[in-house]
């Protein structure tokens, strides 16, 4: 994916929705999920049926969860405390509260806010 497409409106919306979903993952769950996918794979050996089934179920869950997040964009609970500021900088998705910000506000307003002519409204 190119840098240009990363800044495309639909991509920004998708990233914001994704960031909101990631915020809700308890750190302990993340720690439990990640090591299982690395290190145990034996190269050259075809994946067993069980692994395929597990991967398929994970994909179904991911899609269902994504649908849930889109249907209920505000969510029934807020972001996990302490995680809201974890994503910083431009290379990671920011935890924007409203992905529709892309369409609600004038994009030139955002450019102005980022300009060196520091907006006086922020002082």
């Amino acid at each position: 994916m190119s840098r240009e497409s990363e800044n495309h409106p639909i991509d920004l919306v998708a990233r914001a929705i994704h960031a909101r979903a990631v915020e809700r993952v308890p750190p302990r769950t993340l720690a439990q999920l990640q090591p299982r996918t690395a290190g145990r794979r034996s190269p050259g050996r075809p994946p067993a049926f069980g692994w395929a089934l597990a991967a398929a179920c994970a994909a179904v869950f991911a899609f269902a969860v994504g649908m849930y997040t889109l249907v209920d964009p505000e969510g029934s609970s807020g972001p996990a405390p302490g995680l809201a500021g974890a994503a910083d900088g431009l290379s990671t998705p920011e935890p924007w509260e409203d992905p529709m910000m892309v369409f609600d506000e004038d994009p030139d307003l955002f450019v102005w806010l980022a300009s060196d002519a520091q907006p006086v409204a922020m002082e």
Binding site: P26, T29, F110, L113
Partner: protein, 138 residues
């Protein structure tokens, strides 16, 4: 096989406990044209709902979407940076920013600079009065 079943059980448990947790699983998704209709629907539904529920905002939405399309990659990067700042601003600061932006955008550079200098010297009350006089038209 036993390990796979363990993974599946862990996946189901995590799904029930963490809800959206599994959305963060890395996956390679195809181009838009190759997405399933359900996936396209999931992505578009948020925009469509806002469009249908806010007739008074439709012209803004369309204009903003078209402007995003016209922006250069550099402008889009700046806009993303500005969005982060916007996210961190209070509602009052956002109102000020909207008004100042709308007012300044048509000004010659010298006048913009003068307003910026004047704004810094204004009291809170003077700023409120200025905002009342220059509230952006919807």
């Amino acid at each position: 096989m036993k390990a796979a079943i363990s993974l599946l059980a862990a996946t189901l448990a995590a799904g029930m406990l963490a809800g959206p947790a599994l959305a963060q699983q890395p996956q390679q998704l195809p181009e838009w044209d190759q997405l399933a209709p359900e996936q396209r629907e999931a992505l578009v539904s948020t925009v469509r709902d806002r469009w249908n529920n806010s007739p008074e905002r439709r012209a803004h939405m369309l204009r903003h979407a078209e402007r995003w399309q016209q922006m250069t990659p550099e402008e889009r990067r700046s806009a993303r940076h500005g969005m982060k700042r916007w996210h961190d601003m209070s509602p009052e600061r956002r109102e000020e920013a909207r008004a100042l932006f709308q007012h300044m955008r048509g000004m010659p550079a010298a006048e913009r600079e003068a307003l910026r200098a004047r704004w810094k010297t204004m009291s809170a009350e003077e700023r409120r009065a200025w905002l009342e006089r220059h509230r952006p038209a919807e």
